[in-house]
């Protein structure tokens, strides 16, 4: 038997390194017909904000070569509704339910995190400082080092459980931001969020998204994500959770070899709702084949 479990620190222990990416997995229940979601290492639920958000107008997505653009814009019920109506339904899943927390001011982040801190069965939050789809902020926090540090510090003060900070790829040097949030008290970082992109319908000459630009995800971004995970894992000492285009066992292993302690799968779930389970099984098979006893033996094991 291979030990797939991963300890991300500050009481966040995953039974295996495969989590699902925020905004692509609803609250987990959407996939319950397809797989036993309790088998997952963790589920990061929808981006959650202090107050309810309607998100951006339709159209919100466009298909691109081996990927898609989205401009959902953090549509969600708000943290109070989440606590009242959704939390009771998901709190007894036998997996780690993390909440992805967004905001447009530091205070909003803090207030949302504080409320979630009180939920016994939420072992951590993923602080989303990298959403490219809302005007008021999100990504702005993740693309400037001082503001990334400021929001992380402020949330760290009120949030005592596992604090994972989700980094934006839309930056010149992601390691700089990673080091900043490490210093500010993050327990781990996750990356990458979507890359800002755009698509145009040449017949109508309109942008394909209501917001003109949106976030690119899917296999097309994998090489960029993998590079950033490798750079970041080599730059900081807290665990790195890697994502961006993972859609096969082999993709997941690339990220782990590059230094990711765990991974998240996003867009690939839309095409194969069973992909997470296939990846968990495939990682186990790979470790057996390579004669490894635990996942840790290949984490960051890239030969260079």
């Amino acid at each position: 038997m291979v030990d797939l479990s991963v300890n991300l620190g500050n009481n966040l222990v995953l039974k295996n390194p495969v989590m699902t990416a925020s905004g692509t997995y609803g609250y987990g229940t959407e996939y319950a017909d397809f797989i036993d979601i309790n088998q997952l290492g963790g589920i990061v639920v929808k981006g959650t904000t202090l107050t309810k958000r309607e998100g951006n107008p339709y159209p919100r997505m466009a298909e691109t070569p081996k990927g898609m653009l989205n401009a959902v814009g953090l549509q969600n019920v708000g943290v109070d509704s989440f606590i009242e109506t959704i939390y009771p339904k998901i709190k007894d899943f036998n997996t780690n339910m993390l909440v992805n927390v967004s905001g447009s001011t530091v205070e909003e982040y803090v207030e949302t995190a504080r409320k979630i801190n009180s939920l016994d069965n939420i072992p951590g939050i993923e602080l989303n400082i990298s959403c490219p789809n809302v005007k008021e902020g999100g990504m702005a926090f993740g693309t400037s080092c001082p503001s990334a540090i400021a929001v992380t510090k402020a949330v760290r003060d009120v949030y005592k459980k596992h604090l994972m900070v989700k980094l934006s790829p839309n930056v010149t040097d992601i390691t700089e931001i990673a080091k900043g949030v490490e210093g500010a008290g993050a327990d781990s970082v996750s990356l990458i969020n979507t890359i800002m992109g755009m698509a145009i319908d040449i017949e109508s000459q309109n942008p394909k998204l209501s917001t003109i630009t949106g976030g690119l995800s899917g296999p097309c971004i994998k090489p960029v994500a993998l590079r950033m995970v490798w750079q970041t894992a080599n730059a900081i000492n807290i665990p790195v959770v890697g994502m961006g285009g993972i859609s096969s066992v082999s993709d997941a292993i690339e990220f782990i070899l590059a230094g990711a302690s765990a991974i998240e799968i996003g867009t690939a779930n839309f095409i194969d709702p069973e992909i997470t389970i296939k990846v968990i099984d495939g990682i186990e098979a790979y470790l057996c084949e390579k004669g490894c006893k635990s996942i840790g033996e290949i984490t960051g094991a890239l030969k260079i």
Binding site: Y31, D33, E54, G55, K66, G67, N70, Q75, F270
Partner: protein, 256 residues
């Protein structure tokens, strides 16, 4: 309950230059499907598609676990699917979404379709017949050559037609058909699927005459089962997902 099933193509019958009907057989038992529900179909062996493609269930035969899709070729995805051959395999996530709801027993229905929007109306028609309601169809097209499978619909009930060039039925758009011109409509529920413009006109018509109108939307989708929030439409209660709260909506509920 939603399933991911592999189907085998048992038949592919070309209807005209842009439409085919695929018959698909499943090894597993197919679940109960409500008319208006759809499948997210994986497109294999295609260089330029990425996501699955949403397609309505056109017809179902529970006895032999088979169903039909009516496909209009518009881009690479639908072209690939419509070129599948007998014996080819096709993977579907289904049944998805909320379908049409049954009319009250004394309601008289009008089923209005245009383009690939006629797809769910055949299955709906059968369902109404089974529930002892005779469907009437109003089908709009550019030209007579775009009218397909009329016999199937005629087997179920009266079929009225409009064509833009007047090559068959009434010349003009659907809204120009006499059945929609009477002072008081002789039906009290409209089921419709087709181009946005057509459905908006019908929804206004229904509002004016104070009758029910169920519209089936074709918003772009990424997942098809409520996980991504890409497919929303504005409703009286804010953004709702076309894939799980629809694709069929009561037109009054939509913010049109």
């Amino acid at each position: 309950m939603k399933y991911i099933h592999d189907f085998t193509v048992t038949d592919n019958i070309r209807q005209n230059h842009e439409f085919v009907v695929l018959t698909l057989k499943c090894d597993s038992t197919i679940p109960e499907i409500v008319p208006g529900q759809f499948a997210e179909v994986r497109v294999d062996n295609a260089s330029n598609t990425f996501l699955r493609r949403p397609l309505s269930i056109h017809d179902v035969n529970y006895n032999n676990n088979s169903l039909k899709l009516l496909i209009q070729e518009v881009g690479e995805g639908t072209k690939k699917l419509s070129n599948l051959n007998k014996g080819d395999s096709i993977n579907m996530v289904y049944p998805l979404g909320k379908g049409f709801t049954k009319p009250l027993n004394d309601q008289k229905s009008l089923l209005v379709g245009g383009g690939c929007g006629v797809a769910p109306l055949l299955f709906l028609g059968r369902y109404l017949v089974k529930n002892n309601i005779t469907p009437r169809f109003l089908i709009g097209a550019k030209s007579s050559k775009d009218l397909i499978r009329l016999d199937e619909y005629r087997d179920l009930g009266e079929v009225m037609i409009t064509t833009e060039d007047g090559s068959e039925g009434v010349k003009g758009f659907i809204i120009h058909h006499p059945v929609l011109k009477t002072e008081k409509p002789d039906f009290n529920i409209i089921y419709t699927c087709g181009p946005d413009g057509m459905m908006r006109v019908l929804s206004k018509y229904a509002a004016k005459h104070n009758i029910d109108c169920q519209v089936s939307l074709e918003n772009n989708m990424a997942c098809g089962f409520g996980a991504c929030l890409c497919c929303v439409t504005p409703t009286q209660q804010g953004h709702k997902c076309t894939c799980i709260d629809g694709p069929v909506f009561d037109s009054k509920y939509l913010k049109w």
